[in-house]
């Protein structure tokens, strides 16, 4: 069940728990051996993965070139700082705009495609952007990328805050993430959210019910590109650089892995879990072996083989089993399906 049934509040109980963990993170991070910087990375990639899951989990469109939009966001932000020195907000705005525009353009070519053709076309487009990023030295700095994108002060109207410290940066990223979670939750429970899920389950029927399927697919692709752009802007802000690596096929595949390993097909929170698993695996496995990707890849294959609905799917099943044990005695039979 991807969206809740019945009326949902603007901020749910699960969200409150998540926000509590999110904003208290710097207080307990070091106690469990973590640090603020990985928190920033995780927050950024959660924004990216949640936006991506609009496409994959909700609409059922597997894009393998989404890294392009993250990268475009990163470059747009970086260029705005280097050439315009426009400040954080303008930079992020430009990042979102650039990624949205690119995604909107790509979506024009993709929105009438399905299945394998869709997946292969997204790979092709992703590669184009990646390739241009490497070759267009004058603008992107080639393979090295844009360097020395210094973190400016964050203007908040009355005051401005330095983002030099990773802790401040973390709170900024976390605040943006919280806003994104609320926005996405709202979108998914609106008619638009119902429509994209309807398209995933049965595109033909949706079309014959009068839905402009092409336009809806275009919108959702573009929208998820916008989220990737925001994440990209934050990425550049954090890394103080933008480079083509994040646009490669592998990097694009990572967001798909994160989304699925957490259970993006069955839960709103799947991508959140998946991103955390990925970064913890990188740090934990990475501290043991150089070839952490080998082990992470094996882990991922095992998940696809034995628990393809990911962490959320396993959790759902365990919860259902525990629940059914509690009520099993009196009401056997049909109730389980409701």
């Amino acid at each position: 069940m991807l969206t809740a049934r019945g009326k949902v509040p603007l901020v749910t109980r699960q969200m409150l728990v998540f926000f509590a963990l999110l904003f208290s993170y710097p207080l307990w991070a070091s106690a469990v051996g973590l640090y603020d910087y990985i928190g920033v990375e995780i927050a950024i990639w959660i924004i990216y993965a949640l936006g991506y899951n609009l496409l994959l989990g909700y609409t059922g469109l597997p894009s393998f070139g989404h890294g392009a939009f993250l990268g475009i966001g990163a470059y747009a932000y970086g260029l705005s700082q280097l050439d315009l020195s426009g400040g954080v907000w303008i930079g992020l705005l430009l990042a979102v705009c650039a990624a949205t525009a690119a995604a909107g353009l790509v979506a024009c070519f993709l929105s009438h495609r399905r299945g394998i053709y869709f997946a292969l076309m997204t790979i092709a487009f992703g590669q184009i952007f990646w390739f241009v990023a490497i070759k267009w030295h004058g603008v992107t700095g080639g393979e090295d990328g844009l360097l020395n994108v210094l973190r400016p002060e964050l203007g908040l109207g009355v005051a401005s805050i330095s983002l030099k410290s990773n802790t401040t940066l973390y709170y900024f990223a976390a605040a943006l993430l919280a806003v994104i979670v609320v926005i996405l939750w709202r979108v998914l429970h609106s008619p638009f959210g119902a429509a994209i899920q309807a398209i995933r389950m049965n595109e033909t029927r949706a079309r014959f019910l009068g839905y402009r399927v092409w336009l809806i697919k275009w919108s959702v692709f573009t929208l998820s590109g916008a989220f990737a752009g925001l994440a990209g802007g934050l990425f550049c802000l954090t890394q103080e650089s933008a480079y083509p690596d994040v646009m490669s096929l592998h990097a694009s595949g990572f967001v798909v892995m994160m989304t699925l390993i957490g259970g993006g097909f069955v839960s709103f929170w799947g991508p959140v879990v998946g991103v955390i698993v990925f970064f913890l695996a990188r740090d934990l496995l990475g501290s043991v072996t150089e070839a952490w990707l080998l082990w992470y890849g094996l882990l991922f294959m095992a998940v696809m083989l034995f628990e393809p609905e990911g962490v959320a799917g396993a959790w759902g099943r365990i919860a259902a089993r525990l629940g059914s044990q509690k009520v099993a005695a009196p009401a056997a039979g049909k109730e389980a399906s409701t």
Binding site: R5, G6, A194, F208, G210, Y211, T338
Partner: protein, 247 residues
Amino acid sequence: MSLFTAEHLHKRFGDQVVLEDVSLAFESGAVSGIMGPNGAGKSTCFNVLTGLHRPDRGRVTFDGEDITGLAPDEIARRGVSRSFQIMTLFDEFTALENILVALPEVRRGLGRPFWQPRADAEAIEEAREVLAQVGLEGRAGTPAAALPYGERRALEIAVALAARPRIVFLDEPTQGLGTEGRARLSALIRELRHRYTLVIIEHDMGFLFGLADRISVIHWGQVIAEGTPGALRAKDRVRAAGPGRTP
């Protein structure tokens, strides 16, 4: 003038002619039947009428307007609704959600991020009424995939009705149903005929003869007979074309 007409439709796939000079007219408020053996071109005919395929030649009109070659969603938005021979439901949605997503308000509300159709009393009320029409009022909270076959068939029709259509095309609604299911469906359509304009594809003559006001018989892509069930019964040609089953 007829609510929905097809004039001289031709359609071929490759070198196979599937529709040849097919003309049909469906009256407002009536139940029309399209009959013929499997592979006679009935489904293609529906697909051309509802916009899935564009006819090679000919014209389709709805309410006096030419809708030939329009996209399926465009035709649907004008008030033409259909069900499918192969079940096309939103399987992970509950029965109620299947209906909700078919409501015109929900479709028109795509730009309203703060409206929650699943919590809107009016929308839910209407959706429940639609479910009640097909006898699924007790199944509102069941995912479509978990419904038994006969109820899925009923939901398939209900989704088409939820769009508040001015004409409903039902493509082989008895597909896969047993004698009992057929009888129940027959009773259901008898109820619905007071509220909707219906066009039904069927290869079972007995089923249509008891329901339709007018029947067109299609064979080899052509309309070979037309008339009221009574008039058709008299003709021998129907017997030659139809499988001649009786319930």
